[in-house]
Amino acid sequence: MATGIKDKVAILGMGCSNFGERWDVGYEHLLNESFSEALSDAGIERKQIEAVWLGSALERSLGNSAIPAATALRLEGIPVTRVENMCATGTEALRGAVYAVASGAVDIALAIGVEKLKDTGYGGLPTLGKGTLNDIWMPYSSAPAGFAQLAAGYRAKHGISKEDLKKAIGRVSWKSHQNGAKNPKAHLRKAVEMETILKAPIIAEPLGVFDCCGVSDGSACAIVTTPAIARALGKKDLITIKALQLSASAGREWGTSSWDGSYVQNTRNAAKAAYKEAGISNPRKELSAMEVHDCFSITELVTMEDLGVSEDGHAWRDVLDGVFDADGEIPCQIDGGLKCFGHPIGASGLRMVYEHYLQLQGRAGARQLKNPQLGLSHNLGGVPYNGVCAISIVGLEGR
């Protein structure tokens, strides 16, 4: 009988580069930036790492395979594996490293994610092929267009006016800008007025420019080991993995009439499994903070319902009531989120865990929350009706 991942693996050290338009550096520098910080934080040497999982979503960031990362970090003669699962790639890298440690195959493993989007020349994400069959029939719509459809479905299901929903999703972005302004590593570090957000040019109806996350360069990583080894290496007040879950679409949402367009089934699947694995029964009360996949403001709004922290049809009111603000009942995107910290795809899942790691250790500076115990991270890859969701929960050991 499987017993789940809870408390079997501890975080030994983490690192995160500055996110943003890093015109000055390449992927190798970004990898080095997060890796150096993590090594120093873990207090180990590079040669103590026995296996590595690299997360990199776009082949054009550093090419296929993990060899470019092994070369950049001189990880010689050990297994280095590249994983890719769209925007859930960073969490997938963590899952690989954590499972390797939990299995007993290795003592210390590294998960590192990176993306160098600002070498593509695009303002948003480039158009990617979908396979020879899908390319022939499936519309090539942009990433915001995939998520914008949630707005139509959500409005229709809950009878909310276009104006009210626009205001609520604008409030989502407003809050993240407030938080991002306090994060020295964030891509966008400026608060923005609601009026500016609401009047911004439309990207994909009803999403305006400020409803879309930053497209950034960056890297984040985690060095993981067993709690026993962490303690033997002198670590105290361990932060452990409580849950790591993933759900992938198999066509039902967009191939049958079962889905009404107002939520993300993968998030609901992964959340249910993650709460069970972590032993959480009331997420709104038990979670200290959330880092969710706010690629677009509407995504964060429906995610509040999918994660069970808002009741169905009520997230838009909770958003407007400030429930997820820095001083709200359950802060969300305290580091600025994808919206303002930025979204270098392969790094994002690890960046989210990094923020929880800092918060749980009391190292989050101006953004520090009071007495956090458990933090949830949430990644969505693909589009709401055809994608993947990865959820990780980390917390204080014994919590």
Binding site: G121, Y122, G124, P126, T127, T132, L133, D135, I136, W137, M138, P139, Y140, S141, S142, P144, A145, A148, Q149, L150, A151, A152, G153, R155, A156, P201, I202, I203, A204, E205, L207, A250, G251, R252, W254, G255, T256, S257, D260, G261, Y385, N386
Partner: protein, 481 residues
Amino acid sequence: MTNSSTFGIKSFGAYIPRRRMLRSAIAAAHAWSHPSLKGLAKGERSFCNWDEDVITMAVEAGRDCLRGLSSSDIAGIALASTTAPYADLNNAMVVGAALSLPTESSANDWSGSTRSGLSAVIGACRAAGDDVLVVASEQRSGKPASAQEMNYGCGAGAVTIGTGDDVIAKFLGAETLSVPFINSFRKAGERFDYGWEERWIRDEGVSKLIPGAAKRLLSRLNLAPDRTIWFGMSGGGAGADKLVAKVLKIAPEQVLPDLQAQVGDTGTAQPLLLLISALECAKPGDIILIASFAQGGEIAAFEMSKPVPATGRCGLAGSIAKRIEETAYLKLLAFEGHVELEWGMRAETDNKTALTQLYRSADQILGFVGGQCSSCQQIQFPRMPACVNCGALNTQKPYSLLDVPAKVQTYTADWLQYTPAPPLYVGLVQFEAGARVLMEIVDVGPQGIDVGTPLEFAFRIKEQDRMRHFDRYFWKAVPVI
């Protein structure tokens, strides 16, 4: 009546693109250099959306024609056009595949002159074989600021020809004239027609050549003088039809409208559209006389034998009524490729089509045939080995989604993704039969769309491969008007 054959037209259909450019908008754009165009600035003309071409229009006209009929009864397809997209690739075959015609059916392209539309009809009538579908389709484009730009239009007409009790218009006979009267020409590979003076075409060409051929045909048919004759003529220029009718002693009110007010001159498709307009108004016993002038010409006569049965077809009148008014002249220039706009890096995507994959999934892609699971009955697209609902393996039976009622489930208007006609409307389309497909939604009018908007489907270019020049076709959703 001189011909007792029951061979003739059994069904018809038409397609006119919804986009209609006001001629006043074209003239206004050219007023600085060509003020005289104002004289032609009446009414409107049809033009193709960026994703429409001769093949897509032919498919729509063909679908309209085959409504209520079984495509498996069609033994061949002829496609006539001077603007078909492929020089070496059987354009008619692509149309036939989209119409799910039997793979054993013949497919022939007719071209070389705008009269080839009527030539194809006459050819099929004279062959007197199994039922065939004849489609004439034209994507006409005139050089900016030319009279052609003002007068040309785009559209397609289709008829099925065969024998039996269901013939609605009997073929009575035809005459052909082939003379070196070069009223206009376009060399292979060139974009625009070159035409000679209209007065010469009218006075020396049409007026002298067509009446003679028409009289020979009518004399052969030996019709009683009291027979109602509907007359239509293409290719002669404005007013030439009435001039010929006068010589033939056909009353002006029996001359079929030249479609100039709403569509324009659709070249090869024009004689078929005139024929269809006659079929839509003629009564049993009426004679229909259609001429197509070009380097001589063709003229054919039909006799209405029975009222047109109701099939739910859109027809010519119905297709003309489905319009989206356009006044942005630059849109016409951009769609027809006369100006190259800056679309940014997203337009650089390589749209290479795997022809192997296209062949493997041809009925799905070209015919919009999905699958139905024989285990749980779920209808689905695409047709994969495992059922999307119950997961059963190898239970899929082909199921056509083409005429299944559908509506918008989710949607957005995407201003980021490249499309030559922004914004890109995209969303989940919910079919009444239970299937759901992510589709592009096109020809969205000023009324917009919302969750629940009823949709129908149109065969369109999905993407153009600008490196290899192979257009990828698939079906798109269109709001029901």
